[in-house]
């Protein structure tokens, strides 16, 4: 039943509108990718903005591309709410996952920088540094 229904629904929409939205998604993905590469080139040549801002743009655009692939190509936008939620809600774990692990990595870097041999530590920090190796 489901299959006959979807077939009918698609025929009602007509051949054209459906393929049109496919190609529209393709152009969006292509333009975003070209924009990203262009921005990377400009940065290489002219170094015109802060690295963190550039990375922020890259990550945002990546998420935009991911949205279009999942919503249009994988058709998730056109499924019913129950299905969308059962797929997307578990992915919220990534929010914790990314924040926790990157923060962990960053704190390791700071510890190693402060504790590396020959590092002239700031006078105020010096006392704590002497006790720090015990944690290793």
């Amino acid at each position: 039943m489901e299959h006959t229904h979807t077939a009918v629904a698609h025929e009602e929409h007509g051949h054209d509108s459906s393929t049109k939205s496919i190609w529209k998604t393709f152009w969006i993905l292509l333009v975003i990718t070209i924009f990203e590469v262009g921005l990377a080139f400009l940065y290489l040549e002219y170094d015109f903005m802060a690295r963190w801002a550039l990375n922020g743009i890259f990550v945002t655009l990546t998420l935009v591309k991911a949205f279009f692939i999942v919503a249009e190509f994988m058709h998730l936008r056109h499924e019913i709410r129950n299905l969308i939620m059962t797929i997307l809600m578990p992915l919220l774990l990534f929010v914790w996952f990314i924040i926790a692990f990157l923060a962990d990595g960053d704190s390791w870097k700071n510890m190693r920088k402060d504790l590396s041999p020959g590092t002239p530590a700031a006078p105020a920090k010096h006392i704590t540094n002497e006790h720090a190796p015990a944690h290793h």
Binding site: F58, I69, L83
Partner: protein
Amino acid sequence: MDTAVTAKKKWWSGGHSPFNVSYGKLMMWYFLMSDAFTFGALLISYGTIRFMSTSWPDPNEVFHAFPGMGHTNLPLVFVSLMTFILIMSSVTMVLAVHAGHMRDRKAVVKWMSWTILGGIAFLSCQAWEWTHLHEAGAWWGRNPFLNVDGTVASTNFTNFFFTITGFHGLHVTSGVVLNIIILANVLKGTYEERGHYEMVEKVGLYWHFVDLVWVFVFTCFYLL
């Protein structure tokens, strides 16, 4: 028309699928979700290691070659081509799924063939890139590239690069194999007999997922 979607419909009172998709498609979604966590874990561990390193090799220094261009400095160009190939094959895959809805067997064959060709082209590009990096001295446990600040880099960079792009390449390979199997079934007329081309949709979901992962790999390894 028991699958018609209306606002008042009670999805959980039985009699129909509460997700309005078949069992097979739902399970493909759940599989892809678990696979997303696998790739997520790999990419986040890469990010963690990168965050804890005081310096890291510059991707524009490492990935600057293009086949047949010798030593010309072309950062990002080759990987952009690979990205384009994969997006394009995703498009041909949707067109195959669309043709399946129309029960247009000839068009399904045409678009599936293009998708398989795109997958093989992507894998060939990756094979070239790996060979090139291998010749430059990079491999698991070996890293000839210096950090941005000029210090000697650890092997973390190459280990993560080859593991993650390798794992993705493995997914592309199995995607191509699945696509070939489905194409063979289309040619045999299996789905014509069955009355629907839902199997094309299922491998389609998998194929788009592989494209989706590449979008993230592209950003994490080549842009950031």
